[in-house]
């Protein structure tokens, strides 16, 4: 399996407080990786470092062997897309306009989008299933629809890697499974690699190929879902007792207390 993203000994601190203490990660092509950990474990920071929004204080992170901190930001944007937990839109752009912004790394400073940029945006909206929303304003659609619009924007970047920070936290069950299934499809059809942070250990875990468990800024456990999702490991990470059940070949985590 080809490794796309590789991080070695990544450290990061905010105002002297160390949130990542020497993390090693590697992301293979076409893999769906779940990043788990309690609040404040460093998940969001790690994701931002992987897509070049933050630079690590020490250690290095590389994309296809090239150090991300030394790459041009627009070049990274053509390869790695980022979807935040809470999609904010400062001004009432239309959904189509917001999706079209995913083409920004491809167009010049004073240029407008060309016909093929529009086509890519339209097909991204079709893939995500929001074509009917294209003329609605991003400030007037629901939370779930906003998240789908963000996904479509990320797709319009034509990335090889998608980084999602808790993509389904605020969504209802239907939207949650819609997003997870879409990620599965992108992985299968286009070979896109995905890392998604999630708090939702109870309903989405069975989608992931691999799990990384963070605790206090270090990797507590890492590996294939069936190896990592064990009761004693999860209990230690979340500080509460859980039980792991297997049904129809899928793993489920349930709270005991």
């Amino acid at each position: 399996m080809k490794t796309i993203i590789e991080g070695e000994n990544i450290r990061f601190s905010y105002d002297g407080l160390e949130v990542l203490r020497g993390i090693d990660v590697s992301l293979g092509k076409g893999r769906l990786i779940g990043l788990l950990g309690a609040n404040g474990a460093g998940k969001s920071t790690l994701l931002k470092i992987i897509c070049g929004i933050l630079n690590p204080k020490s250690g290095r992170i590389s994309y296809n062997g090239r150090e991300i901190a030394k790459m041009d930001k627009r070049e990274i944007a053509k390869k790695v897309a980022y979807i935040p937990q809470d999609s904010t839109f400062g001004f009432p752009f239309s959904v189509a306009e917001s999706v079209l912004m995913g083409r920004a790394p491809y167009i010049g400073r004073f240029a407008f989008e060309r016909e093929d940029d529009w086509q890519i945006a339209v097909s991204a909206m079709e893939t995500v299933g929001i074509s009917q929303l294209r003329d609605r304003l991003v400030t007037e659609i629901s939370g779930g629809e906003k998240q789908l619009a963000s996904l479509a924007r990320a797709l319009a970047q034509e990335p090889e890697v998608m980084i999602l920070d808790e993509p389904a936290t605020f969504l209802d069950v239907r939207h949650k499974s819609q997003i997870m299934k879409l990620l599965m499809r992108l992985k299968g059809d286009r070979g896109i690699s995905v890392i998604a942070a999630t708090h939702d250990v109870f309903s989405t875990l069975f989608y992931f190929d691999e799990i990384i468990l963070l605790k206090d800024g270090t990797i507590f456990a890492q590996g294939r879902s069936e190896d990592v999702l064990r009761e004693e490991i999860l209990t230690a990470v979340y500080g509460m007792r859980v039980t792991v059940k297997k049904e129809n070949g899928k793993m489920f985590v349930l709270p005991v207390e």
Partner: protein, 321 residues
């Protein structure tokens, strides 16, 4: 189309005034007094109005994009107050001579507004993120502080000086000759061009710092460039005209209601509509109770304010922000 609108307004404005001047006749027949009125007063004033209106509107649009808040403007963030104080200090210190060809008044105005912006910026920045609420509050409080300082300087001025300052604070486009126009253009043109070069980034910035950064925007550099460019452009105008409020707030607002929110369209159009708006209001302020001239700041605030209220009432059910 907006350019044609400005041309039309500019032509009307050149014709209108207390002293009756017909530009075509004047240029052909060469009546000295009429020629002086036309070339030294009317035309420079129309150009000044266009430059000032356009620059203030474009600065407002840029600051609104930066703070993701349609209530941001040179006025609300303390830039106008800073420029006014800087200019006033230079005037009171009697620094009439320039520095490297630039007027000291413009330089002081620029320096104080740049200082204001960096001060307000650092106060508002918490853990690497600019909190819009803190920033607006800091801007408003800074404005109050500058007003107090301006009043303090006023208090120690004699009656004539005080009256001059008062008139200047009200905002006026009373320029003679093209000198002040050039002095403004030296700063305003590069400032406006810098802002126009960032319109694509401003759009992406609406998606939040992190997403903008993940789409290839160097967020830190963009923020600093907008601060620098807006204070450069706006202070150049304000140091000549005094603080003319509402233009930077209302023009981008109106345009967004009609043309959508794409900054690549809003910023250049803001310049043209701002230029048209201030040229028109200045013409009104010169002629409505002729021969007395009302400071244009009073007219922009009244016309702008009323129009703004009307828009708010009309669009009660729409989400403007």
């Amino acid at each position: 189309m907006l350019f044609v609108l400005w041309l039309l307004i500019a032509l009307i404005s050149i014709f209108a005034g207390t002293y009756d001047v017909n530009p075509i006749k004047t240029l052909i027949s060469g009546d000295e007094l009429s020629k002086a009125v036309l070339l030294k007063i009317r035309i420079p004033r129309v150009i000044m109005a266009a430059v000032a209106g356009g620059t203030l509107a474009i600065s407002g649009a840029a600051l609104q994009a930066l703070f993701r808040n349609p209530l941001a403007s040179p006025f609300t963030l303390g830039v106008s107050g800073g420029a006014s104080l800087g200019a006033l200090i230079a005037i009171r210190l009697g620094l009439s001579q320039g520095f490297l060809g630039f007027s000291s008044i413009s330089l002081f105005a620029f320096l104080v507004s740049l200082f204001t912006i960096f001060f307000v910026y650092s106060v508002s920045k918490v853990r690497g993120v600019v909190a819009t609420g803190r920033l607006l509050l800091a801007g408003v409080v800074t404005n109050f502080l500058y007003s107090a300082l301006i009043l303090f300087i006023q208090f120690f001025s004699d009656f004539t000086q005080s009256l001059q300052t008062m008139r200047w604070i009200m905002g006026s486009l009373d320029v003679v000759g093209l000198d002040s126009v050039w002095k403004t253009l030296i700063f305003a043109v590069p400032g406006c061009f810098l802002l126009l070069s960032l319109t694509k980034e401003m759009n992406l910035f609406a998606l939040g710092d992190d997403v903008a950064s993940s789409l290839g925007v160097n967020v830190g550099r963009m923020e600093v460039t907008i601060y620098f460019a807006t204070s450069l452009a706006a202070s150049a105008v304000i140091s000549v005209t005094g603080p003319i409020g509402f233009v930077g707030l209302i023009i981008p607002h109106i345009l967004r209601m009609i043309l959508g929110v794409d900054n690549r369209i809003i910023l250049p159009c803001s310049f043209l509509l701002g230029a048209s708006y201030l040229t028109a209001t200045d013409t009104i302020s010169r002629t409505i109770v002729s021969p007395i001239e009302i400071p244009v700041g009073i007219v922009t605030a009244s016309v702008g304010g009323l129009f703004f209220l009307w828009l708010l009432m009309r669009t009660k059910k729409e989400v403007i922000i």
